[in-house]
Symmetry: C2
Subunit: 338 residues, 2 copies
């Protein structure tokens, strides 16, 4: 591997290392003549400035770390793709922090910014992996940071979110509009903000329609497919079966549909299913899944842009960016059977 350093280039082109550095970082400061000479040497040797030397001096890593529970998830994958793309544009590299829901790992990735290995952090879990001191303003204690998807309970940090409660409400309202009154909910993982909000939306919609909330119709899931299957199996055992099911994620909705098919129910003739997310496979299911779309691309892009702003040293006035969701009606929901 290349052991050629800035001094080699300096020697090779008969200038000082300072000039080499300038040629690479601030070409306008160096004469055309020497510039070409240096660049030639760089090309010939394949010289790449050592990042640590540079970073040590500048105190900037050029990295950004993103902390996510599971990158396999289509929602997260979609978001991270946009992040990566936007980061690249801004000249940053992204360090992947797949936490697999382990707090230890979350901490580990947060430490990367403490240790200077990353200049900023994107957090998609509801925990703030930094300890704050009471007396000081929050902003001064935190690195460039933005939070998304699972809202951290702190008003002072930057966030990009969708209105999960309104989303949940819209989903249920759609079912109500179709005449359903016995509507089940399959929740996401316990105590996650997104799930709590969607549940609040579910309850609000029912309450507004003067429908009593039936605890038996609310099942706990974890956003993953199998939990959708299991939830559906539980619901089917009920004496008063729901005629519609609102799953808090598309993956669970897909699981639910598979369970229904397993037991020969027709969708939506017997039971309607609505999901949340609008992952790409939603419209590829049979029947095509009705769902609430999250603008994944936008979320990722906005997250990164908001981070880049901070990285530039700015503290944008607006702390939270709300992005719109959208009800996408397809084939998995239909009128209540009579």
């Amino acid at each position: 591997m290349s052991k050629v350093g800035i001094k080699d280039i300096a020697a090779r082109s008969g200038v000082s290392s300072a000039t080499v550095s300038r040629t690479l970082r601030n070409p306008e400061l160096v004469s055309k003549d020497t510039r070409t000479r240096v660049l030639k040497a760089v090309k010939e040797t394949g010289y790449k400035p050592n990042r640590f030397g540079a970073s040590l001096r500048t105190q900037k890593s050029g990295n950004v770390v993103v902390v996510m529970p599971d990158i396999t998830n289509q929602v997260n994958a979609g978001i991270i793709r946009a992040i990566e793309s936007e980061a690249h544009k801004a000249g940053y590299s992204v360090l992947l922090g797949d936490t697999q829901n382990q707090e230890e790992r979350e901490q580990h990735y947060a430490d990367m910014v403490s240790s200077g290995q990353a200049d900023g952090i994107l957090i998609f879990t509801p925990n703030l992996p930094f300890t704050l001191q009471e007396n000081k303003p929050v902003t001064e204690q935190l690195p460039p940071l933005v939070n998304s998807c699972e809202e951290i309970d702190n008003e002072d940090i930057y966030k990009v979110l969708i209105d999960n409660k309104a989303g949940g409400r819209a989903a249920v309202q759609h079912l109500l509009d179709l005449g359903h009154t016995c509507i089940a909910a399959v929740m996401g993982p316990k105590d996650t903000p997104s799930t709590l909000e969607r549940l609040a939306g579910y309850k609000q919609a029912l309450t507004e329609a003067n429908i009593e909330i039936n605890k038996n119709l609310i099942i706990r899931g974890d956003y993953r497919t199998v939990s959708g299957i299991e939830a559906m199996e539980k619901l089917l055992r009920l004496r008063h079966r729901p005629t519609a099911v609102f799953c808090f994620s598309d993956d669970m909705a897909i699981g639910a549909m598979n369970a229904l098919r397993e037991y020969d129910y027709r969708i939506p003739e017997d039971i309607s299913v609505i999901g949340f997310d609008d992952i790409s496979y939603a419209e590829l299911m049979y029947p095509k899944l009705t769902t609430i779309r999250q603008p994944l691309e936008d979320i990722g892009r906005n997250c990164m842009q908001l981070l880049v702003e901070q990285l530039k040293g700015n503290r944008p006035e607006q702390k939270v960016i709300k992005l719109p969701f959208e009800l996408v009606v397809r084939q998995s929901t239909g009128p209540v059977p009579r």
Copy 2:
């Protein structure tokens, strides 16, 4: 953010910075007494050793970069999850290089290892983004590196692969066993090794069965869903329609099934569909997709392990690890209609 450095800790605990460093890196070299004292200071201040100082000295970044065409893809996502997990175990962080099929980006990520920002690289594209000199042995010119999924045309680099040709052959053989003789193929992106191999397998199986290869039945795709839809539409227009379709990816198979449904074909009664990959959604489709399974988890794990070996300074004898595929028969394939 923390501006506390090793010297602060040294001062705080009344030792030299060398001892602090040792306490953190080689605790066994320092007496129990001072150790606790130093650790206390570290804890109190929340000191995190600056990575650049350390890396500059040790010439190790503790990072690994993975270069992939598209992280949104379920296949890649599955692999990278395993990579991340394995990397974490070995104490490495992973830098995400989503190239989005742009050569410029590939190069960019490869430069990260040249610049010392990463100690090793995992490459899932068929190009080697390093220039080699003829006269020297390849191994000496390359950083720790392993290649997977899309095979790079070079015998000297470490690889973990599945036998795509045999996989293609197995898929077609399964269809032949069901009595099909008019079998279409929907290829992946032009000139990618994986697709070329699977095509070779397809042709071999047909030739062995004494079936002439019909070019009209071979359609070019790009592994993505829409190309599967389009390919199927083309096939349906043919005077002699195939009775079975082998799609070189599950995504395309899913697209193909959607197209078939769109035009009221029954699967598998009218046309059988087989995919490749066995992504998690394969068994959630209706009908459940028959496919060739790639052991994603294994691929990722082996890649990282092979890389870690090299990172340790070893050059394992065995250059390529072959992993087994598996035919997973589900519901999307059936006997030929008569």
